[in-house]
Amino acid sequence: MSTFLNRNPYRRTRGNSFFAGFDPILSAAVAGLLVIGTLLVYAATRDWYSANGLDPEYYLKRHVINIVIGLALAWGTTIIDYRLLRAYTPFIWGFGVLGLIFVLIPGVGSEVNGAKAWIRLPAGFQIQPAEIAKISIIIGISMLLSERTHNSDEPSTNDILKALAVAALPILLILRQPDMGTVFIISASVVTILAVSGAPTRWIAGLILLAILGGVVATKTGVISDYQVKRLQSFVDPNADRQGAGYQLRQARITVGSGGLVGTGLFNGPQTNGRFVPEQQTDFIFTVAGEELGFLGSSVIILLLLTILMRAFGIARRSTDPYGTLVCTGVIAWFAFQVFENIGMTLGLMPMTGVPLPFLSYGGSSMFANLIGIGLLQNVHARQRG
C-alpha cells in the first residue's frame, strides 16, 4: 500500500498519526456533531424506553456502535487514494444498484413508513441501500464528468448523457420504493455536480425544468402514492391531515418552538419525553435539539453543519484534479440538501419526507454513508496541493 501513497507527489505528510493530513476543523466539527447527536438520541429515547420497561440505553448503545463502525469506514476511505477509487467505481455503483433492486423484492426488503427502503439482516440489523447508492452515484458521475475524452473545458454531450444514465437507474429504483426525499437529494446533487463540471448552462436549466415537470406530473397522475400527496398537502396546509402527517408537522413545530431561547435543558423536554413527535430519534431528531437545547444550542448545530460545508468547499477548490473537486461537490450538495430538507421539514419550510439529519439522527446506514462522505472529503484534502 505504501507504494501507492509514495507515488503521490502532492501528498501531505501523513506522519505517524492516523489523523495527519486531515482537515482538523472539519474533523472537529464532525466530532462535535457526533457527540451532540449521541446525547440527543439518548434524550429522545431514554425516558420512553424506561417507562415502557425497556432498556433505556438501547438506542444509545447502538448509536455509539454505529458511530464506531462509521468512523472505521471513514478512516478506511481515507487510506486508499481517491484517484484509485475510480477503478472500483463500477463495482461500488453496481453494488448500490443491486441493493436497490433487492429492497424491491418482496420478502427481502422491509417496509417502514410506507417506503420499501430496507434490507433486513440477521440480528435485527437493517441496511438502507439508498444511502450507499448516494455515494456510488457521486463517485460514478464525478468520474464520467472529469474524464476528458477530448481537449475541452466542458464535458461532452456524450459524457453528460452517460453520467445521467448512471444516475438515472438508481434514482428510478429509489422512486419505486418510494423515497421521495432521497430522490430529491440525489437529483439535486447530480445537477450541482454537473454545474461545477462545466456542463453547458442549457443542460443545467433543462434538468431543473425536467425535475419540476416530473414532480408535477407524478403528483397529478398518481405515480406518487397517496400518503406522499398527503404529506405534500399537509406541508401546504398543516390542518389538512390532522392525525397523520399534519399532526407530525404541527407537533414538530410546537416542540421546537416551545424550546425558546435556551431550551428546557438536556433530558428535560416534556414534549420529547412524552414522545409527542414520532420518529424523534431519527428523522425528527432536530425537535429534540430545539426543545431541550433551545435556539442557542440548535444554532450551534446548524453552524457546525455550515462549518463542514464551508471547509468542504475549500477542499473542493484546492483539489489537484477535477475528479476530486466533483466528488467533494457531490458530497457537499448531498449534505447541504439533506440538512436543508431535514431541518426545513422540522421547521415547516419543506414538505415531510423520511430523510435523516446527517451526523445526528439515529440509523446505521445513514451514519455510515455520512462518515464515508467525510472520509472522501478528508481523502481529497490529504492529497491536495500544500
Binding site: 412524552g274 477548490r317 421547521l347 419550510l349
Partner: protein
C-alpha cells in the same frame, strides 16, 4: 479547475450558506419570536389539570341538625382512557355493568360521554369533566356489587369503585326541604363561561337551586388541582399537586328541621284532604316566619322532589318530571314563585283603608247578599245576607259586601271613571304600604314579584293589551268568543286604562288582578303581628368555618313600616283572633290551647285545567300566634284546594301543634319546639351526628331521654 467551474462553485457555496442562514432565521422565528405561543401550545398538549372537588359545607338548622351533608358514598367509575382502547370501545363492559347495577344502558352511555363528543342539543347528562378523570356512573353502589366489580377486573377493565364525597340530604324526620335547600349538580356551559362572575372548573359541582345556589360561594370551598403530565399515549408520566382542596363553609339557617317536617307533612295532608273533597289541589305552599325578625323557620312547597335524586344520577324520566305540568311542576317553589289572588286574607288591607278613609272600626255595617256596582251586582260569599254586624264580626265571618260598599263608595268619592286630580286611593295606598309590588327579598333565588292593581298598573296594562281587546274578534280564539268575554273586551277597550268600580270592589276582597306569593302574605301577617314592621324574610343566620369560627352573620333587615296606626293594629289582632273563636276557623281553633289569630281565604281563579275543567278556588289560611305577643306567622296555601279553613286552616293548626307541642287540646311543654317560645339565637356547634330535640313528631326520644335522666 477552469474559471466557470470556480464561479459555479462560488455561486453554489453562497447558495448553500444562505440555505443554512434561512434555517437559522426560521429557527429564530419559531423559538424566540413565536416561542411563547408554542410554549403554551406545548403545555396544553402535555398537561392535564384534574380537579379534586372540595367537600361542601353543611347546611344545618338553627339547632345544628344537618339538612345537607357531605357524605362518603361508593361510586362506580368508568375510566374512559381504558375502555376506549377496547376493540368495541367498552360497549360490552358497560352492558355487563348496567345489568349488574340495575341501571339503564342509555343513561350510562350518556353519562360517560364527554359533552364535547356529543352534538349540541343532545348533551343532557353528559360528562362535563375531563377524559382523565374516572367518570362516576352511580354514586350509591351496593358495596357487595362494587366488590364484585373490583375483584373481576378482567371482566370489567377500566371500571373501579371508589369512595367519594357526595351531597346528601339526610331527610331527618322525613324532611325533604328540597325547595329551600335546592340541590347541587354539574356546571353548565354558562357557569363555565363565567356568567355569574366566578370561575369554576369542569367537573366541579355547583348549587343549582335554593340555598345551595344562593350561598354557593361559601358552601363550595376551593377545589384542589392536580396536574398530570402525560405522554403521547396519554399515559401519565408525572404528577404535581398544585393546590389541596379546601372544604367549604357551613351555613346555619333559621329553619327548624322539626317544624320543616311538620310543615311538609301538614301541607301534604292538606292537599290530600282537598283532593278527598273533590278539588284538584295541584300544588301548595306553607311558610312559618318569626315575626320579630323575619327569620324563616320553615318553608315548604308541594309537590316536592327528592333532592338526593340528583346525586344518585337523574334519569331522563326524572328530569322531565321536574318541569312537567302533569306532575305539577315540582321544580317550582310555590312559596315564593307562585302568584295567587289573596282573597279574604287581603281584608286586613281593607280594614286599614277603611280606617284611613274615616270609617269607625267599632261601628256596625250592613252585610247584604249583594251590592250593586254600576250595572253589575257583586254577591256576598255564597250570597248570604248577614244583616247589620260589627266590623270585627265582618272579618270573623268574612263578609264581602261590607267591603264592596266601602270600596265602591270610596271609588265614587275619588271621581269614579273620571278620577279627581288627587284621588285618595285609600285601598291601594294601604296595600302599597305592605310593599305588595316588591319582592320580599328572601334569600332564595327566583322570587316572583306580586302585582298590585292601582291606577298606574291599569295604565301600563292597557298600553300592553289595548290592541288585543280593541280587535278582540280577530285576535281571540273561538273558545274565547263567549258573550261575557266579548262584553269584557268591549269594556276593556273603552276604559281599560282606568280603575273601574269593579276593580275597586274586587280589590277590597283580594280578588281580581292583584296577586301575591305565599311568602309575601306571611311577611304581611308578620308585620301586623309585630306592630307594623316589615321584615325581610331571611333563612341564612351565619356562615361558620369548618372549625366553627363565625365568619359572617346575617342581621335581620327592616324593609319598612305599614301605614296602620296602633289602634288599627290592635283592632286587627282582635278581629283576627275573633276569626278563630267564632269566625270561619273557629271549628279548628276555638279549642286550641294556644290562642291564635288568623284569616281564611278562598280565592276564585279564572281559567281552565289541562283537562278542560274550570279551575277550583285557591285555599288560604294566614295567621299568627300566640295571640298576645305574637312570635310566629304561619301561612298555608293550596292551589285549587277549595275552602280556606277546611284545607289550609287545618294544615296550619297541625303546624301550630308541632310548634307549641300540642297533643289533643293540651300543651306538652317538653314537646314544644322552642323553650320559652323563642327560636334559638345562639349558633349551634356543627356535627353531622346532631339529632333533633324531641317534639310532637319525635316524642319517643323525649321519653327515653327523660328515663335516662331519672336513672
Amino acid at each position: 479547475m477552469n474559471q466557470r467551474s470556480r464561479l459555479s462553485l462560488l455561486v453554489i457555496q453562497i447558495f448553500f450558506a444562505s440555505l443554512m442562514v434561512a434555517l437559522l432565521g426560521r429557527l429564530f422565528y419559531l423559538q424566540v419570536a413565536a416561542g411563547p405561543i408554542y410554549r403554551d401550545a406545548a403545555l396544553s398538549i402535555q398537561s392535564r389539570d384534574v380537579v379534586t372537588p372540595a367537600n361542601r359545607g353543611f347546611i344545618v338548622d338553627s339547632s345544628g341538625v344537618p339538612l345537607a351533608l357531605s357524605k362518603v358514598a361508593l361510586a362506580v367509575t368508568v375510566d374512559r382512557t381504558t375502555i376506549d382502547k377496547l376493540p368495541d370501545k367498552g360497549v360490552a363492559v358497560l352492558a355487563n355493568l348496567v345489568n349488574l347495577l340495575g341501571l339503564e344502558y342509555s343513561d350510562v352511555w350518556q353519562r360517560t360521554r364527554l359533552c364535547g363528543e356529543l352534538p349540541r342539543g343532545q348533551r343532557a347528562g353528559c360528562w362535563t369533566g375531563s377524559r382523565f378523570q374516572p367518570i362516576p356512573i352511580t354514586k350509591s353502589a351496593d358495596p357487595a356489587i362494587a366488590l364484585r366489580i373490583v375483584e373481576r377486573s378482567d371482566r370489567f377493565p377500566g371500571i373501579s369503585a371508589t369512595p367519594i364525597a357526595i351531597r346528601s340530604y339526610p331527610e331527618t324526620l322525613g324532611v325533604t326541604g328540597s325547595h329551600v335547600l335546592g340541590y347541587v349538580g354539574p356546571l353548565t356551559e354558562a357557569d363555565l363561561a363565567g356568567a355569574n362572575g366566578r370561575t369554576y372548573f369542569r367537573s366541579e359541582s355547583i348549587g343549582k337551586a335554593g340555598l345551595e345556589i344562593k350561598y354557593d360561594e361559601y358552601l363550595r370551598g376551593v377545589p384542589g388541582i392536580k396536574t398530570f403530565i402525560v405522554d403521547r399515549k396519554e399515559a401519565v408520566t408525572s404528577t404535581t399537586q398544585n393546590t389541596k382542596p379546601v372544604a367549604g363553609k357551613h351555613l346555619v339557617t333559621s329553619l327548624d328541621v322539626r317544624l320543616q317536617a311538620a310543615s311538609e307533612k301538614a301541607l301534604g295532608e292538606a292537599v290530600k284532604r282537598a283532593r278527598s273533597m273533590g278539588f284538584p289541589a295541584d300544588g301548595g305552599a306553607a311558610v312559618v316566619m318569626d315575626v320579630r325578625n323575619g327569620q324563616v323557620l320553615s318553608l315548604a312547597s308541594y309537590p316536592s322532589f327528592d333532592p338526593n335524586a340528583f346525586e344518585r344520577g337523574l334519569t331522563v324520566k326524572e328530569a322531565q318530571a321536574l318541569y312537567s305540568e302533569k306532575t305539577g311542576v315540582p321544580a317550582l317553589n310555590r312559596a315564593l314563585q307562585g302568584l295567587y289572588a289573596p282573597a279574604s286574607t287581603f281584608k286586613v288591607v281593607s280594614v286599614m283603608a277603611a280606617k284611613d278613609a274615616g270609617y269607625d272600626l267599632n261601628k256596625s255595617y250592613s252585610c247584604p247578599a249583594e251590592v250593586q256596582v254600576g250595572t253589575r251586582a257583586f254577591q256576598n260569599f255564597e250570597s248570604k245576607a248577614q244583616g247589620t254586624i260589627s266590623m270585627k264580626k265582618a272579618i270573623a265571618i268574612s263578609c264581602d259586601t261590607i267591603w264592596y260598599q266601602i270600596a265602591y263608595d270610596e271609588w265614587l268619592r275619588d271621581g269614579g271613571l273620571k278620577p279627581k286630580s288627587n284621588p285618595n286611593d285609600y285601598f291601594s295606598k294601604a296595600a302599597e304600604s305592605f310593599q305588595i309590588s316588591e319582592k320580599t327579598g328572601v334569600d332564595l333565588p327566583s322570587e316572583s314579584t306580586g302585582r298590585l292593581v292601582n291606577r298606574e298598573w291599569k295604565k301600563s296594562w292597557y298600553a300592553e293589551n289595548k290592541d288585543f281587546y280593541c280587535n278582540y274578534k280577530d285576535r281571540a280564539t273561538k273558545a274565547q268568543q263567549t258573550a261575557f268575554l266579548l262584553q269584557l273586551a268591549r269594556e276593556n277597550c273603552v276604559d281599560g286604562d282606568k280603575l273601574r268600580g269593579g276593580d275597586a270592589v274586587n280589590f277590597s276582597i283580594g280578588q281580581g288582578d292583584t296577586v301575591i306569593t305565599p311568602i309575601k302574605l306571611a311577611q304581611m301577617y308578620a308585620a301586623i303581628a309585630n306592630g307594623g314592621t316589615i321584615w325581610q324574610p331571611t333563612i341564612a343566620k351565619a356562615i361558620l368555618t369548618q372549625e366553627g369560627k363565625v365568619i359572617k352573620q346575617f342581621e335581620p333587615k327592616k324593609l319598612g313600616q305599614i301605614s296602620a296606626d296602633a289602634a288599627t293594629i290592635e283592632f286587627l289582632h282582635d278581629a283576627l283572633h275573633e276569626v278563630t273563636l267564632t269566625g270561619t276557623s273557629a271549628g279548628l281553633f276555638a279549642n286550641f290551647p294556644v290562642p291564635t289569630a288568623g284569616k281564611t281565604g278562598t280565592a276564585q281563579v279564572f281559567g281552565r285545567n289541562l283537562n278542560g275543567s274550570a279551575k277550583s278556588d285557591t285555599s288560604w289560611y294566614a295567621s299568627f300566634a300566640p295571640e298576645r305577643n305574637p312570635r310566629y306567622a304561619v301561612v298555608m296555601m293550596v292551589s285549587q284546594g277549595g275552602y280556606g279553613a277546611s284545607t289550609s286552616g287545618a294544615g296550619v293548626r297541625q303546624i301550630y301543634e308541632t310548634l307549641f307541642g300540642v297533643q289533643g287540646n293540651v300543651v306538652k311543654p317538653e314537646l314544644a319546639l322552642f323553650p320559652k317560645g323563642k327560636p334559638p339565637i345562639k349558633l349551634p356547634r356543627i356535627s353531622p351526628a346532631t339529632k333533633p330535640a324531641p317534639s310532637i313528631l319525635n316524642p319517643a326520644k323525649a321519653e327515653k331521654k327523660m328515663a335516662v335522666a331519672k336513672r
